[in-house]
């Protein structure tokens, strides 16, 4: 039966994969505690703001801050519970949140993304995306320069045609597009 089916071999390697034995940076428990504290702070802040707006009942029913005020209370209580649960837990403590090699890889995406968002404001979206794709493919993926540049150019150009020309979805533009009169 399967001898009539065509078989295609597919192999993809990952040259910059994180090592398996990389040391842990932080545990799930530490992050759990940190997130609970942040959420607790947020709930206090939002709770206070809604209290100021007015969280009581007046003649026409609840004031604007009523609903969100009590939600902040619920959020605060749940975070507090989470905080205590994280302190008491033993199982979670052993789980690794992220290893050093993993963190390096996550940063390898996050930092370029951040730079891309900054660049987007000055260069426009399409030029910024050209730099992001070409740079990322070359520096993180270790893909040949010509392939990276070509892919980045084709993708950015295709996006420009699809969104700006065909679908009329207007993106931020920079000096390059201005030079071409768009």
């Amino acid at each position: 039966m399967s001898n009539t089916d065509i078989d295609i071999q597919i192999d993809v390697d990952d040259p910059t994969a994180p090592e398996e034995d990389s040391p842990a940076i932080t545990s799930n428990r530490a992050v759990d505690v940190a997130v609970s504290l942040l959420l607790l702070a947020l709930s206090v802040l939002l709770g206070y703001d809604n209290w100021r707006t007015g969280a009581a009942w007046d003649a026409t029913g609840p004031e604007p801050g009523y609903f969100p005020f009590y939600l902040s209370v619920i959020l605060g209580a749940a975070s507090l519970y989470g905080l205590i649960a994280a302190f008491l837990s033993r199982k979670e403590a052993r789980e690794t949140f992220v290893t050093r090699a993993q963190a390096r890889r996550v940063m390898a995406v996050f930092v370029p993304t951040l730079l891309f968002c900054i660049a987007m404001q000055y260069l426009g979206l399409y030029v910024a995306s050209f730099f992001l794709i070409a740079g990322f493919m070359r520096l993180v993926g270790k893909i040949a320069w010509w392939k990276s540049l070509l892919t980045a150019f084709i993708f950015s150009a295709a996006m420009f045609v699809t969104f700006d020309l065909v679908f009329d979805v207007i993106m931020p533009k920079g000096p390059l597009e201005a030079a071409f009169g768009y």
């Binding site: 039966m1 295609i8 597919i10 995406v109 993708f155």
Partner: protein, 505 residues
């Protein structure tokens, strides 16, 4: 039979070259999204949503829902060929699908997966066709208290029935509801939680949050793993397809069971992921030789795929009939409806007949076309995986940024998306579920409006939520579901004590 006539009308709306073309584009994009790691149904739909802003609502929803069907089909390809589930709901498909591929039966396994997906969706679409109009006409009588009760029921069932830690679900949900309240208060016109920022005036856009939470965070998570893969892509011959289809009637019980589980979990917020595992486990439990599961049994592919698709499709039922999404992707489609100025809920069936029935007809047509498409083009889609992730990742980032910016033409939204990306990454790692957050964010202001309108009607009396049989039943049910784990434990404890007492006696 009224539904049948309306459905035919829906097909008539649909059968234009433009719509059919959009359908194909949607399906291809969807399979693409389903196959690629780091993208999935919800974020695929969210990222591609801006493409549809300039279309008319019917074409737009047809294309978006086809992306969704495509993603459901696509998840199975990588699970079977490479043992890498493209989607969380295809994890159970790897248990028997991958062993089958290793035994040289990849084509058979893929055919089984696609066929059962098709059957699952078909059952769910039939359910939608006949049940949705009925539910929506029933819901037309709902006033604000009834709607609030239904929202409450949705939220409570998430907390009570979810598998995650309860406090984490509560955190996720209350945070979503809070963020939904940011900006101008719709009832009094007062500003809330804006802290003097003009960008926050407009509130936090649901779609921006979704693109960050699912798109950006998924890339961060995917990068943590080793992304190498090795395997074979098989094309499917007509003979294989026919031989699998010939055996289908033998497995009717598995297919039926999984369809029912899927539909049930899709309507209630259980989701496709839970459905696929439950379908698999039940098929295994009812099988005569349980040992052979996990070693390449075709039922092990039929069961989870049918359930996942039935659930993914039926999740659209409450969205259409009540305006309450049954899954994350349904929530995004709901967000889309609002962008096009359609108000999801029972009135949709009255005011926008063309739209609703066009969508339902597209579910039938999309699934048939999707089945043919994936059966014939598996090798092409499998070879997409040859494209290194280092090229795919920045393209996804760019697509996310375009999506986030296009919604309100605001740079602030791009930063918000990035922020939500980090939040999503951390939340997923410490197991705070994102689905309740998404749901709360999209339903938050509607739930609050319903609550405050009820309060205005009743003059601030909470008894309005028990003022008649209908609203009272829903509210009570909601509270019961909220405390379900406690009730379950108490009842279980009592039963245990009873049986212990009997043994002693």
């Amino acid at each position: 039979m009224e539904a049948f006539g309306l459905l035919l009308h829906g097909f008539a709306v649909l059968l234009t070259w433009k719509t059919l073309l959009l359908m194909m584009v949607g399906l291809v994009l969807g399979v693409f999204v389903g196959v690629l790691p780091g993208l999935g149904g919800p974020n695929g739909v969210a990222i591609l949503l801006p493409l549809t802003f300039t279309m008319d609502p019917t074409s737009a929803i047809v294309m978006l829902s086809c992306i969704y069907w495509g993603a459901l089909f696509g998840g199975a390809i990588t699970s079977i060929l490479f043992n890498i589930p493209g989607e969380a709901w295809s994890v159970a498909t790897t248990f028997d699908g991958y062993p089958m591929a290793q035994q040289g039966r990849a084509a058979e396994a893929l055919t089984a997966a696609f066929t059962s997906s098709f059957i699952g969706s078909l059952v769910a679409v039939l359910l939608i066709t006949f049940l949705a109009p009925w539910i929506s006409s029933f819901a037309l009588r709902f006033g604000p208290p009834e709607f609030f009760a239904v929202y409450l029921l949705t939220f409570c069932s998430f907390v009570g029935l979810g598998r995650e830690d309860k406090h984490k679900t509560v955190i996720s949900m209350s945070l979503g509801l809070l963020l939904a309240g940011i900006g101008m208060d719709t009832v009094s016109g007062q500003l809330r939680m804006t802290f003097g920022s003009t960008d926050l005036l407009r509130g936090i856009n649901f779609l921006v949050a979704v693109i960050g939470l699912f798109g950006i965070s998924e890339i961060l998570l995917t990068m943590e793993e080793r992304l190498a893969l090795h395997g074979h892509a098989a094309s499917i011959s007509l003979r294989t397809v026919l031989s699998v289809w010939k055996d289908l009637p033998k497995y009717w019980m598995t297919l039926l069971r999984s369809s029912v589980i899927g539909c049930w979990l899709g309507i209630t917020p259980g989701g496709a992921i839970a459905a696929s595992f439950m379908g698999y486990n039940l098929a295994k439990r009812f099988a005569k030789d349980q040992e052979s599961f996990g070693k390449g049994r075709i039922e092990g592919v039929f069961a989870p795929e049918t359930a996942a698709h039935a659930s993914g499709t039926s999740a659209l039922l409450p969205m259409l009939a009540l305006g309450i999404p049954g899954s994350g992707t349904a929530a995004i489609l709901l967000g889309g409806l609002m962008v096009w100025g359609l108000n999801p809920g029972p009135l949709l069936f009255v005011e926008h007949k063309d739209f609703v029935w066009g969508l339902i007809a597209s579910m039938y047509l999309g699934n048939v076309v999707g089945l043919v498409l994936v059966l014939t083009t598996v090798p092409i889609f499998a070879s997409i995986l040859r494209v290194p992730f280092a090229a795919v990742a920045p393209m996804i980032v760019v697509s996310c940024a375009i999506g986030a910016y296009a919604i309100q033409n605001a740079m602030f939204d791009v930063w918000l998306m990035l922020g939500f990306g980090v939040v999503g990454y951390v939340f997923k790692k410490i197991k705070i579920p994102l689905a309740p957050f998404t749901l709360a964010l999209v339903l938050g202001s509607r739930a609050e409006d319903a609550f405050r309108q009820s309060m205005i009607i009743s003059g601030g009396d909470m008894k309005v939520f028990w003022s008649n049989g209908l609203v009272g039943t829903i509210t009570t049910l909601a509270i019961l579901l909220l405390f379900w784990p406690v009730i379950d434990r108490v009842v279980g404890g009592l039963r245990l004590r009873n049986s212990a007492a009997k043994v002693e006696a």
